[in-house]
């Protein structure tokens, strides 16, 4: 599991872990049923306090992202919680912002951008059918 911790921007480390696990799940890099690393292993891997991992896992469990099975460990939940859709939208929103900023700098208006998205989408679908 790839997680990167930065300690210079004031975001609590447990929230960084929670957010990155949510992204990993939303993007499919962590699949339902996958086993999460144990507290000790992840604490050593990230060199962070074990209590921080405990707190992150608790938060993820409460959000329905992971499930604890007694005695065996922590797993990515089988049932897709409704908030995962929100997470997906959140990921796309930052991409959309970048696209819109660039469009504005290049003086391309919103109608043109939407038209472009439709065209690109159509091309992508054609390619998939072609295969």
């Amino acid at each position: 599991m790839q997680i990167r911790i930065v300690s210079d921007d004031g975001v609590p480390i447990y929230i960084q872990i929670v957010n990155q696990v949510k992204h990993l799940v939303a993007s499919g890099r962590l699949a339902p049923g996958d086993e999460m690393p144990s507290i000790r292993v992840l604490a050593a891997q990230l060199t962070v306090n074990p209590n921080t991992i405990v707190r992150a896992y608790l938060e993820l469990e409460q959000a329905g992202i992971v499930t604890k099975r007694n005695g065996t460990g922590t797993y990515v939940s089988e049932v897709r919680a409704p908030m995962l859709q929100r997470e997906k939208i959140k990921i796309l929103a930052s991409r959309a912002d970048a696209l819109l900023t660039e469009a504005r700098q290049l003086d391309v208006d919103l109608v043109e951008v939407i038209k472009l998205l439709r065209e690109r989408n159509a091309m992508m679908l054609e390619e998939e059918i072609g295969k």
Binding site: S7, D8, P12, T47, V48, N49, T52
Partner: protein, 303 residues
């Protein structure tokens, strides 16, 4: 035995009202701190703040002039064997007998600690890449730190005590040291106490911190609580300010022209109205990093 405070029952280290003078200089001034069992306790402070002097009291190398020091509820000066037998200590410059070979060091250290774990020591030696036949005097600074860390860890001490362990070391050795700290706590709930001026390291692994400044404790407690008590605001003024704006009760203020950054203790709910009164907008409001908190506190005491 009289306990200095109710919370000290679960404290591995309990220091109460400790003061220490060297000649005319007061190095520790009324210091009280408690290190809860199973925590990673980070001690921060500038060079000369008194960190090493404090650690020497925990080790029983210095006797408390005023106040009390208890480690595992014992006076470390009166009970050196019971205390030091349960402490793994690594100093900034480990004082290892240079004429010994690595394998001799392991046998030598083993004699001091009844709980020495030979298998674990060998595992650490291999993991750290230390050659058993190499003389200690020929080890690099990083290898010396690893050898010191090995000796500090291999008897699985109840308290791992590290004084500026990362000082002047490369990132790989620093990572090994931090991993030792994390493992100490993750395995069997033992306790780690370490001092450092690398605040990113402290922030990553500690759950309890204290800041020592000119011999006094500036703050001491849970890292989360201390962070939550501080806020960092960025103010944007309509016109460039020639002189720093005057705001009562802030820890520090920096910036120039139209943008100024204010560090506050507490959430300071009144700050938006103060800012509005001065013709400024708050354009950023966030929890600061430990580094920013440290700099703000250190600055307020420097004249």
């Amino acid at each position: 035995m009289k306990l200095p405070s109710p919370s000290s029952a679960e404290a591995v280290v309990a220091i109460t009202d400790l003061s220490r003078r060297f000649g005319a200089k007061t190095v520790l001034n009324d210091v009280s701190l408690y290190v809860p069992r199973g925590s990673v306790f980070g001690l921060v402070g500038e060079n000369g703040a008194g960190k090493t002097t404090l650690i020497k009291h925990i080790l029983g190398l210095l006797q408390a002039e005023t106040g009390t020091v208890r480690v595992f509820n014992l006076d470390p000066v009166a009970n050196p064997v019971a205390v030091l037998g349960n402490v793994g200590y690594l100093s900034e410059q480990p004082d290892l007998p240079g004429w010994m070979r690595v394998e001799e060091l392991l046998r030598y250290a083993q004699a001091f600690y009844p709980n020495w774990d030979k298998v674990y020591a060998e595992k650490l030696r291999a993991q750290f890449g230390l050659d058993p036949a190499q003389r200690l005097s020929t080890l690099s600074k990083g290898q010396t730190a690893k050898a010191g860390l090995l000796v500090a860890q291999a008897h699985r001490p109840n308290l791992l005590l590290l004084d500026e362990p990362s000082s002047g070391l490369d990132p790989i050795v620093r990572h090994d040291i931090l991993q030792a700290v994390v493992r100490t706590v993750a395995d069997e709930g033992r306790t780690a106490f370490f001092s450092s001026h690398l605040l990113e390291e402290i922030e990553r692994v500690s759950d309890q911190i204290a800041m020592l400044h000119h011999g006094r404790i500036v703050f001491c407690g849970s890292l989360d609580e201390i962070k939550a008590r501080h806020r960092r605001f960025t103010l944007h003024f309509e016109t460039a300010q020639v002189k720093p704006p005057v705001i009562a009760g802030v820890l520090s203020l920096s910036g120039e022209g139209k943008e100024w950054t204010v560090m506050c203790n507490g959430t300071r709910t009144e700050l938006p109205s103060i800012a509005a009164g001065m013709g400024a907008r708050i354009i950023d409001d966030r929890v600061p990093s430990l580094n920013e908190i440290f700099v703000a506190h250190a600055g307020t005491f420097v004249s």
